[in-house]
């Protein structure tokens, strides 16, 4: 064995903790990478199990064509077929709503429902319904729903049970196939799921099925796996994108791990400079020294990678167990061995790459260095000319790319705009900016420290020493805070982007869903007398606001516009409407608020006068406000009630907006019930639960943000581990310094406080860099997408991120600081 390598390995064997510490970042990285692989596995399996709608037990599927019950019977009788389940749907109007009745076997592996109460229908005329259907349609176990199938045919269906299903839309019933085909009055099946006997020849039976279902509109016979996959793809249209985003974030996390690993290696090598120089002095060649150090990197990567993968595997298999304890069905991730090997390989490659740069520079150590003290190594300040030039060039590239994006930003209402090139520009600029930060980091640390460290320096010698300690080795400080910065940049970007899109969503919702409920007829008929009064009189309904809405309005050359007299101040949610110019102040007869595109197309601005017409009747209005988007209720024009009357619109309201008086699902159901009673027996009217739409959109956005932040959290995790490792190594490296401070009278507590503060300062500097990069880039990216979102700064969220990161990085320094404080000053001073 190479003698240099032997020396290194002996060192590793003597101090395995140091090897692990160095590899900690790599360990976490491989943990994160493999955990993501497993998460993908879990999600995909869960999607196939849950979201595809076709049970896992299905072997063959007959679908997309003419299928009838005769064919079903023939298929069921085939040898090798264990079970069949026919799928079809019927349904009809039930009161003011629609009840959908689907076929299901009711039990067994092919069933898609789970009974909760009662029993599955045993005969005709019975159904089971979903829990939400019970609430929304006012059904109960044992009650009867009478469907109006038209032409006087009314079919009573008794609720024999309540069953859970995958997506509960609130209008779903399940029944045996005969009930459904009977209801539909036609012998038509949309799909047959087939389960085979174990050991049956699937290919041969598939062939048989194709022959059995031959005809003009022959259905397709597919395998269950294919159908599940294609169904999953439909749901996975988004899921694929989500995983693309996951992959991006994981890549960033891996890069962060590489950076941290490089910086920790650099510190370890600086510490061993004397030893390396000694080896050089006694005749070790540069090449063999480099090789030896790289070999150590491989070993570190291997150990860290395997440990990380095993940890992730343990965590991944714990998730289904834990979720099962809470009653959630989550699939097991299995054992993707190939990906495990790839992750370990990746860990080794990262570590070797990370080790290469320091190894080469460490091997370049002059033998003479051995005779000098190594105390100043690693505590270099500032950067060389070459690095300055590189950094400035990178900054220039970043600014140029950002400038290109800025110049080409789309206008307020772009048509056929493709955001991809500009978004790419933002990413490129951000990448350059980040590289510039890496290059110029050491030079930037001190100015940032001068500002952020100012209050600390006032706190006395401990704070002053901590600031000095960080400022004294700007390279180390820069190396670690740059990684923290990466995490903060991503989080800040996600938060700013999320907050802005949230505001945009609120605005759009203000226009499309200004209240919890909308009661109206599809034809725009006036509300029956008493509806408004009864709604206003109910304690379950709040802010019942009648309005009139009319179509066929002409403004200038634009026809078929719609207008409403719903006051922009009538409902609290309308306050979220965004005015491009002007406002709703001073509304009254002869004044109007108009939608943005109407202002553009009819060339109207605030203060201008326009003319609206319905047929021969005309009114003139003055524009007092221009909205950036649509006007409420999908109209383009908000007029005063008097003006609407002048246009010949009948005085009776055509619709009613209302909120639920109480919050929560129960309050909403009660209010809905009250509103429905006001229109009983008048089928042309209906109540739309706008609140459900709003909830759906908000939930979708929240889930997306949560996923994004969770992923970004991985990078932050690595950054925090990096800070911990760096502090630990710097403590080891500066054990003499600690000893000296203790010798000249620093107490253990102060030393701990000082080192913990240093660690927190890495967080402060990193978070400052991160916010400085993240916020502007989030804004640029937002504008590059072309959505009309306003720039929103979630100050408190960002402050919380800042505080949390500083706390986390401080926490990362606590253990190393305790360790340093325990060392006796004599042994510390004796350390070389």
């Amino acid at each position: 064995m190479n003698p240099v390598l032997r020396t290194q390995m002996a060192g590793v064997a003597r101090r395995p903790a140091r090897l692990l510490l160095t590899g900690l970042a790599v360990l976490v990285a491989s943990f994160v990478v493999y955990a993501t692989v497993l998460a993908q596995q879990i999600t995909e399996r869960s999607i196939l199990n849950g979201l595809s709608g076709t049970p896992e037990a299905v072997d063959l599927v007959v679908r997309n064509g003419d299928i009838n019950t005769k064919q079903l019977a023939a298929i069921s009788a085939l040898p090798g077929v264990a079970e069949t389940a026919a799928r079809t749907e019927s349904g009809g109007p039930f009161g003011n709503d629609y009840l959908s009745v689907l076929s299901d076997p009711g039990s067994g592996p092919l069933s898609i429902i789970t009974m909760r109460e009662g029993r599955f229908p045993t005969g005709p005329g019975e159904i089971v319904v979903t829990p939400r259907t019970v609430e929304r349609l006012g059904l109960a176990l044992g009650s009867t729903a009478e469907l109006d199938m038209g032409e006087g045919r009314r079919v009573p269906l008794k609720v024999s049970g309540i069953a859970d299903t995958r997506d509960d839309w609130g209008f779903l019933a399940y029944a045996p196939i005969t009930t459904v085909t009977g209801l539909a009055g036609a012998d038509f099946l949309s799909q047959i799921d087939v389960r085979l006997d174990s050991g049956a020849d699937a290919g041969a039976i598939q062939q048989r099925l194709t022959e059995l279902t031959k005809g003009a509109e022959a259905p397709e016979v597919a395998t269950g796996a294919d159908v599940r996959l294609s169904e999953a793809r439909e749901a996975a249209g988004e899921v694929d994108q989500v995983f693309a985003v996951v992959a991006t974030f994981v890549a960033v996390a891996v890069i962060a791990a590489g950076l941290i690993a490089a910086s920790t290696f650099r510190i370890v090598f600086a510490q061993r400079l004397r030893q390396l120089a000694l080896l050089r002095a006694v005749g070790a060649g540069k090449a063999s020294l480099s090789r030896a150090l790289a070999a150590e990197g491989v070993l570190t990567g291997l150990v860290a990678g395997v440990t990380g993968v095993l940890g992730a595997l343990a965590a991944g298999h714990l998730v289904p167990l834990l979720a099962g304890a809470f009653g959630w069905k989550v699939a097991s991730p299995g054992f993707p061995l190939g990906k495990a090997a790839a992750t370990v390989l990746l860990a080794v490659v990262i570590t070797v790459l990370a080790v290469l740069a320091p190894a080469v520079s460490a091997a370049r150590v002059a033998p003479l260095e051995a005779l000098r003290s190594a105390a100043s190594a690693g505590a270099q300040r500032g950067i060389g000319v070459l690095r300055w030039i590189t950094g400035l060039l990178l900054t220039g590239a970043a600014v140029a790319a950002a400038g290109y994006v800025q110049v080409n930003l789309p206008g307020p209402d772009p048509e056929n705009y493709d955001p991809l090139p500009l978004l790419l520009g933002v990413v490129v600029s951000g990448g350059f900016a980040y590289l510039a930060l890496i290059a110029l980091g050491p030079a930037l640390v001190r100015p940032v420290l001068a500002v952020t460290g100012w209050p600390l320096r006032r706190l006395g010698p401990v704070g002053k020493l901590a600031v000095g300690g960080v400022g004294g080795s700007t390279r180390r400080a820069a190396a670690v805070s740059v990684v923290v910065a990466l995490g903060v940049t991503l989080i800040a970007g996600v938060l700013v982007g999320g907050a802005s899109i949230q505001v945009l969503g609120d605005r759009e919702l203000a226009a499309s869903a200004p209240a919890d409920f909308e009661l109206s007829s599809s034809e725009g008929a006036p509300l029956p007398a008493g509806v408004v009064d009864r709604a206003k009189g109910s304690t379950e309904v709040a802010r019942a606001t009648p309005y009139r809405r009319t179509g066929s309005v002409t403004v200038g050359s634009l026809s078929d516009l719609s207008a409403t007299d719903l006051s922009v101040k009538a409902l609290p949610r309308l306050a979220d409407l965004d005015f491009r110019s002007g406002s709703a102040e001073g509304a009254g007869p002869g004044k109007a608020v108009i939608a943005g595109f109407l202002a553009d197309d009819a060339n109207l601005a605030v203060g201008d006068t326009g003319e609206a017409a319905i047929g021969p009747k005309k009114v003139r209005f003055e524009v007092i406000g221009v909205l950036s988007d649509m006007a409420p209720l999908h109209t383009q024009l908000v007029l005063d009630p008097a003006d609407l009357t002048a246009l010949g619109v009948a005085p009776a309201p055509t619709g009613l907006l209302a909120d639920a008086a109480r919050a929560g699902e129960e309050g909403r159901t009660e209010a809905l019930r009250v509103l429905r009673t006001t229109i009983v027996g008048q089928p042309e009217f209906g109540v739309v639960v706008l609140a459900d739409q709003r909830d759906q959109m908000k939930t979708a956005l929240t889930v997306l943000l949560a996923i994004a932040i969770g992923l970004v959290g991985l990078t932050v995790l690595i950054a925090v581990v990096g800070v911990g490792a760096t502090t630990a190594l710097s403590v080891v490296e500066r054990v003499r310094e600690s000893g000296l401070l203790r010798a000249v009278g620093m107490s253990r507590g102060s030393l701990r406080a000082m080192l913990t503060t240093e660690s927190a300062l890495y967080g402060v500097i990193g978070a400052a860099f991160g916010l400085a990069l993240g916020v502007p880039y989030a804004w640029l990216a937002l504008r590059a997408t072309g959505v009309n979102a306003p720039f929103t700064l979630p100050v408190w969220q960002l402050a919380a991120v800042f505080a949390a990161l500083v706390a986390l990085t401080a926490l990362a320094g606590v253990l190393p600081a305790r360790r340093a404080a325990r060392v006796s000053p004599v042994s510390a001073l004796g350390t070389e």
Partner: protein, 255 residues
């Protein structure tokens, strides 16, 4: 918290710091080493004393125990009447900060602090302001006036050691311990530092205890205490190089 010192008129009355029957054992059982084997010695106030002895004689251990950096196995260390061997870490830390100064062989300046900040470090830690007059005088005497804003890495070895000396002197400690202060210096810088140590004792009345193995350095002291195998092996007052060298040789011969 100060315990009543047990007085020994013969040793402790005039002494700034004294060891009484001091024993330090490293390790246990067969591998135990008695680094100090019952040392009783006093160091007079305002005097410059050198501790000498061959390698392994226990001179560094003695200094570490006297300075409260290391704990003795038995015996007492009396610093101005306080028995340091009976104190907890907090009291020891305070004593080191306010009553003891150090000069080390390898300077041990904090690399990230300027010379000026290094000098006032112990005072900063104690939350005290330096005596401006003393500070100015030290900076002038030690020839550091033009170097105060420099980092240790920008100073020569002699300059660094002079900064360390200023750091030890500026808090007016009861005693300064110097551990081979010239070990890393060339002879001219070494002579300069030794002269400054001697002057500090003479002019400022500073008690100084120096550990060295260099007879030339010991000759600057008012008194040399010889140590061998963890025991006291004689002393020389107003030493010169020849006397010290002779004493060392006779010690080596006697082993």
């Amino acid at each position: 918290m100060q315990t009543q010192p047990s007085r020994r008129p013969d040793q402790a009355s005039l002494a700034a710091v004294a060891a009484v029957d001091l024993v330090k054992v490293y390790g246990t059982g067969d591998t135990a080493v008695r680094a100090l084997d019952g040392v009783t010695v006093g160091f007079d106030r305002g005097r410059f004393t050198a501790i000498m002895g061959p390698s392994g004689s226990g001179k560094s251990t003695l200094m570490h125990c006297l300075a409260g950096l290391d704990t003795a196995t038995s015996g007492q260390v009396l610093l101005g009447g306080t028995d340091l061997t009976r104190q907890n870490d907090r009291i020891l830390t305070k004593a080191r900060r306010e009553r003891i100064g150090f000069v080390f062989q390898s300077f041990n300046l904090l690399p990230q602090l300027t010379a000026a900040a290094n000098i006032t470090l112990p005072l900063d830690l104690a939350g005290r302001r330096p005596d401006a007059e003393l500070y100015d005088r030290l900076v002038t005497t030690l020839g550091l006036a033009g170097r105060l804003g420099h980092l240790p890495s920008e100073l020569s070895g002699g300059q660094q050691q002079r900064v360390a000396l200023a750091r030890a002197l500026v808090s007016r400690p009861e005693v300064i311990f110097a551990d081979e202060p010239t070990g890393n210096l060339d002879s001219r810088s070494g002579a300069e530092v030794l002269g400054l140590l001697r002057d500090s004792a003479r002019d400022l009345g500073q008690t100084i205890v120096m550990v060295t193995h260099d007879p030339g350095a010991a000759a600057y002291a008012d008194r040399v205490v010889m140590l061998a195998d963890g025991r006291l092996a004689g002393e020389i007052h107003s030493p010169d190089i020849a006397a010290v060298t002779d004493a060392l040789q006779s010690l080596a011969a006697g082993r």
